[in-house]
Symmetry: C2
Amino acid sequence: MNQVIKPVEAGHIYHLFNLGSVYLISAQSEDRQDVMPASWCCNLDLVPAKATAVIDKSHYTRKLVEESGYFALQLPTASIVNETLKLGSISKNDHPDKLRECGVSLFTMPGYEHIPLVRGCAAWAIYQVIPEPHNQQSYDLFIGQAVAAWADSRVFFNNRWDFTGHDELRTLHYVSGGQFFVTGNAVEAKGFS
Amino acid sequence: MNQVIKPVEAGHIYHLFNLGSVYLISAQSEDRQDVMPASWCCNLDLVPAKATAVIDKSHYTRKLVEESGYFALQLPTASIVNETLKLGSISKNDHPDKLRECGVSLFTMPGYEHIPLVRGCAAWAIYQVIPEPHNQQSYDLFIGQAVAAWADSRVFFNNRWDFTGHDELRTLHYVSGGQFFVTGNAVEAKGFS
C-alpha cells in the first residue's frame, strides 16, 4: 500500500467530494423570496434535463420550494464571491431582510416572473419539482425537471464552458473557511478522436 | 435583460452543471470487476456520509453494484486522464478485457478486498447501497452509505484539498470531446471570520 494513502475519518468523507461547483438555489412563494448557496446539486437526466438538490429542512428556502413546486439553480461567479458567502452565513429565518443585507441583485426572465434569479451568475435554470415525498423527507433530496435555462454567452457558447479571458466569471467551488477554488484551466486527453 | 444572457436549449442544459469532478465508479461481483467514469455523483449527507450516483442501466458496472450491494467512488487525477477517458469510451459489455485495455492498475485495501480501487486517484470511498428500488428503476439513482474512505495525503490534509505544487494530482472536471478542466486555484472571500 502506498504510504501517501491515509484514511479519512467518517465525519470528513464529504469533504472529499465537495469539488463540484457552488450553486445558488432560489425560490419564491407569494411575495416571499430566498436564495441559499448549496454544493450538493447534481444533474440527474439529459432530456428532459433533471437535477437533484439537497435542501435541508432548516433552510427558509425549502419552505418556498415546497409551497411553490419550483426552484432555480444558478452558478455564482468569482464576481459575487462575497455575496455568495454571506448568503450562506445568515438565514432568512433570523434575518427577514437577508437578501438586501447580502447585497444580492435579483431579476426575472419573461414568462418566469415567479422565480427570482441572481445577477452575477454564469447560468440559471428553473426546475419544477417532481414530488417524491420519501426522498424529500428521508434524504432532504429534491428532484426537479428543467423548464428553462439561460447562460452568460461570454463564457458558455457552443454548449460548453470556456472561461478564458474571463476570470471574474469563473464559477466557484467552495472548500471551507471562506476559501473557494475557481474552475481551472483546460487539459486535453491525448488520442481522443 | 442583459444582452449577454442567452437561452440554453433543453438538450444542453445538463452541460451547464457538469462542473463537478469526474468520478470513477468501481464494483465487483464474484470475480467480475468493472470501472466506469461518471460525472453525476454527489454528496447526500454528512455523518454517516452518504452519496448519490447516477448509473445508467446500460453500464456493466451497474449489474455488479446491484449484485454486490457495494460501489466505490474515486477521484481520478490529471496523471490518469487518458485511462479515465478510455474507461468511458469502451464498455465491458463488448470488451471483456476492458480494464487491461484501458491500462488501469487496481488495488484493494485491507478488510475491503471485495471492492477494486484504481491507482492514480486522489481519493477513494467505499459505499454500501441503501436499497431504494423506485429511485434505481425510475431515475438510475443509487444511494450509498460510506463504510470507509482514503485520500492521497499529499493533496488532502487537515480535511481539505490543497493541490499546490501537485499539478499531476489535480482532480478532473470533464467538459466534452476529450477536454477536461483541472481543479483551479484558490480565491478567498473577503471579510470571512
